[in-house]
Symmetry: C2
Subunit: 162 residues, 2 copies
Amino acid sequence: MLAVMDRAEVTIPLIAQRANVTPSTIYRRWGDLQDLLADVAASRLQPETEPAETGSVYEDLQAWVEQYADEMSSGAGREMIRDILSVPDTANAEKCSGYTQQQLRVLIARAQERGEPFPTLTELMDYVISPIMYRILFEQPPNAECVRGLTSRVIPEGAVKS
Amino acid sequence: MLAVMDRAEVTIPLIAQRANVTPSTIYRRWGDLQDLLADVAASRLQPETEPAETGSVYEDLQAWVEQYADEMSSGAGREMIRDILSVPDTANAEKCSGYTQQQLRVLIARAQERGEPFPTLTELMDYVISPIMYRILFEQPPNAECVRGLTSRVIPEGAVKS
DNA sequence: AGATAAAAGCAAATAATTTGCGTTAGTGGT
DNA sequence: ACCACTAACGCAAATTATTTGCTTTTATCT
């Protein structure tokens, strides 16, 4: 719905009209457009499904990270991240990071159940997620090869790779 | 000058008045406040000095990274990053990353001259800068201990640590 | 049902943004 | 030195967004 519009065209009076409310209602609830978009983006970033279970946990990880990178690199993804970071309040950014960690914890738990060695949450966040996000935000979005490279570097020696 | 004002109070008509120009001049040049702030922030992020030369190159690195983290974590720093990332145009973000890499390259060159082993630019960006920036943007700004930990992990074995 | 408080509508007032048009400053060619 | 020519600016009117005071609705608790 909102996705079909150019961002520059989105305005509070317009949103109000679509929602059949007066603009002042929205202004009072959110303050300004940035705050509203940040909330919307954060809610849309919430994962609705657990990481897919393919074969080995490493494949699960590779697949999940690759999808994560793709989604975040896409036009819509980058727009949502921007909306979240554009606002002084850090609550939505933390929520967003929380979603990521929650997904990764599922994989970690899966590995633990199977008794397979696996990177820690911190390692995954620092050495995989962070570099991907940095590239998206400050450089060029990483391609698949780059993402695989980052991921495979945290996979323990002797692990059953894809 | 701008730093003394609350961000919410900064408006284009106000800036125009201070600059003794008409608002329309600024609107035509920058489009909107976000674009202007992004440009200002990027120019202020440009380093005006090379990384300090203390003792070993590792100390130089530790010191520089620590200062980088401090500056970026500060209120003003976070504000500038936000301004840069808030805008669709990625030119300023790339410029910002470029400044960081330029500084790191100085350290790398310094290590090379001395024949000391040193992390590559990619390692530094991926494993030190990116995690720091991710924490600043999405979690809590890293404390000194955390920053030192990230840095020391990329320092080669057997290196002359501080 | 009645009282109360939080949220929403409405409309006037204020502020920001856009736009058309006339003017000025700077540039290159003769 | 002069004359186009272009790009940027000033000015002011028109448009649009934002804020605000006050009223009305809606939901909740007693």
